[in-house]
Amino acid sequence: MIPVFLWLLATIDSAFIGYREAAGRNALIDKRAYYRRALIRGAVVGQVAVVIVGVIAAIILVNSNDAVALFSKLESVGARMLTIYVPYALILLITFLVRAVPSVDIRSITSVLIFGPFTFIRPIVVLAGAVWGVLAAPGAITIALTLLIVCLMLGLGGILSWLRSRGLIS
C-alpha cells in the first residue's frame, strides 16, 4: 500500500504543480478549461517522474543480492515519508473543503492562513519528509533514490516552465 499512497500523493502534488505553473499567465476571466488542462498536464508529467523513479528502483531491486530486504528498506523509507506528507496533504484537502463555502471572507482566509504559507513551506516539507524517510534505513541506495525523488518533486515546476518557454505547452 505504501507505494500506492506515494504514487497517489505524487499525482495530486504534480497536478497542483501544473496549476501553479499555469496560474498568473492567462488574464481571461473564465479559465476553467485552462486550469483543467493545467491540472491534467501536471498530473501527466508527474507520471513521467513516477515512472523514472519506478524504473530505477526496479532495476536496482532486480540487480540486488537480497531484493526482499531492499524492498522492505525502501518501504520503511516510504512509510516515514508519508508521516510527513500525509498530514500536509490532509490539511490542504480540508482547506479545499472549507473553501467550498461560498464566502469571500472564508475563501480569503483559507489563502492567508493555509494555501499561501503552505506553498511557501512546500520545499521544506519535501526535504523534511525525505530526510525523515532516509533516517529509517540510511544507505547509498535509499539516499540516492530519495534524492532523485526530491529533485523531481522540486524540479517539476521548473520543467513545466521550461516546456512553456519552448512553446511546447500553452
Partner: protein
C-alpha cells in the same frame, strides 16, 4: 525581495518607469539614468537591479519593453485578485450601493468607472458575472494605452459588455455615477491624495469605493510571502510588497476624505472580520452622498458589521 530591505519611501517601480502628460495624456520619455539615480538615492538596490535589466533606446526606457513587463505584472496581480475573490468582493459592496441609488431615483444608466483599471480585471469580472444589473454601464480608464489595449483584447475574446478608455476619469464625456479603484490610493500621497478625492465632488457622482491594501503590522510580511510564492515578475514582486508597506492607515484615509470630499459621508469597509480584529488583505474607502446613506446601510444587511462608522 528581502523583507528586511524593503524601502518604505519613494515610488514603486511601475510609477517611476512610465510618465504621462496629465493634460494631453501623451506618454513622456523616461530616462533610465534618472530612474536609476532616484532609486540609488533611496538606497533601493532591488529596484536599481530591476530597472538596470530593462532595455533602453538612446538612454530612454524602451516603452514596448516597459509595457510588456507591466502587462505581465498585471496578469500576475490578477491571479492574486482571483485567489482573494476580489471581483466578488467588489460586487458585494457595489450591490447595496447601486440599490440605494436606484431607490433614491438615480437616472439610468448607472455608470461605474474604474480609475487606473490596468488590464481591467475588476470591470471584466463584473461584466462577466452580470451581477450588477442591466442598467449599469461598466468602464475602465487608465493612462496606459498598452494596458487598455490588453483589457479590450481580453474583453473582446470573452464578449464582455464593458468599455475601456484612455482618459482622465474625472473628465469623461459621460461622467461616472460611481467611482471605483483597486490598489490605487497608496500611489497618491499627501496633497495628491487629497486632490484625487476632491475630484469626486461633482454633481453626477453619487458614490465611490476604493479598495486598497489594509495597513496592519502583519501586512508587509503577508504581502512578501504571497508575492514570493505567487509572482514571477521581479517588478510585480517588488511593487506588490512595497504597496502593502505604503498602504495608508484607515484613519488617515478617512480624515483626508472627509476633509477633501465633505459632500459625501464616508467609512472604511473591511476593517474587521466577523466583528473580530482579524487583519484583512483589502479594505475599502466607501463614500456616498448623504441622501442615499440610510438606504445603503439598510441594503448592507449583515455586512454592515464590517463597515466602520459612516459620517
Amino acid at each position: 525581495m528581502n523583507l528586511a530591505t524593503i524601502i518604505r519611501h519613494g515610488p514603486e517601480i511601475s510609477d517611476a518607469i512610465v510618465s504621462f502628460d496629465p493634460v494631453t495624456l501623451q506618454r513622456r520619455p523616461v530616462k533610465k539614468a534618472d530612474i536609476l539615480v532616484q532609486f540609488r538615492e533611496l538606497r533601493n538596490h532591488e529596484a536599481v537591479r530591476i530597472v538596470e535589466q530593462m532595455p533602453e533606446l538612446d538612454g530612454v526606457l524602451d516603452p514596448a519593453a516597459v509595457d510588456k513587463v507591466l502587462i505581465t505584472s498585471h496578469c500576475e496581480m490578477q491571479r492574486m485578485s482571483e485567489e482573494f475573490q476580489h471581483g466578488k468582493r467588489v460586487a458585494e459592496l457595489l450591490k447595496p450601493i447601486l440599490n440605494a441609488l436606484r431607490e433614491g431615483g438615480v437616472n439610468n444608466p448607472i455608470r461605474i468607472v474604474d480609475i487606473g483599471c490596468g488590464t481591467g480585471f475588476v470591470i471584466r469580472w463584473l461584466a462577466a458575472s452580470g451581477s450588477l444589473g442591466d442598467d449599469v454601464q461598466l468602464m475602465g480608464v487608465d493612462f496606459n494605452v498598452a494596458l487598455l489595449n490588453e483589457a479590450q483584447r481580453l474583453a473582446r475574446i470573452e464578449n464582455l459588455r464593458c468599455k475601456f478608455e484612455v482618459a482622465n476619469a474625472f473628465r469623461l464625456a459621460e461622467p461616472a455615477t460611481v467611482f471605483i479603484s483597486t490598489g490605487i490610493l497608496h500611489h497618491f500621497r499627501d496633497e495628491s491624495l487629497s486632490y484625487l478625492l476632491q475630484q469626486h465632488c461633482r454633481a453626477e457622482t453619487c458614490a465611490f469605493v476604493h479598495f486598497d491594501f489594509h495597513s496592519s503590522p502583519m501586512a508587509p510580511l503577508g504581502s512578501w510571502l504571497f508575492h514570493a510564492v505567487r509572482m514571477r515578475e521581479p517588478l510585480a514582486r517588488h511593487d506588490g510588497v512595497l504597496s502593502a508597506v505604503r498602504a495608508h492607515k484607515s484613519r488617515y484615509l478617512l480624515d483626508v476624505t472627509r476633509s477633501a470630499a465633505p459632500e459625501f459621508v464616508s467609512a472604511i469597509y473591511g476593517m474587521r472580520l466577523w466583528r473580530m480584529p482579524i487583519p484583512r488583505v483589502f479594505h475599502s474607502l466607501v463614500g456616498i452622498r448623504p441622501k442615499y446613506h440610510e438606504a445603503f446601510l439598510s441594503n448592507m444587511g449583515t455586512r454592515v458589521a464590517s463597515l466602520g462608522k459612516i459620517e
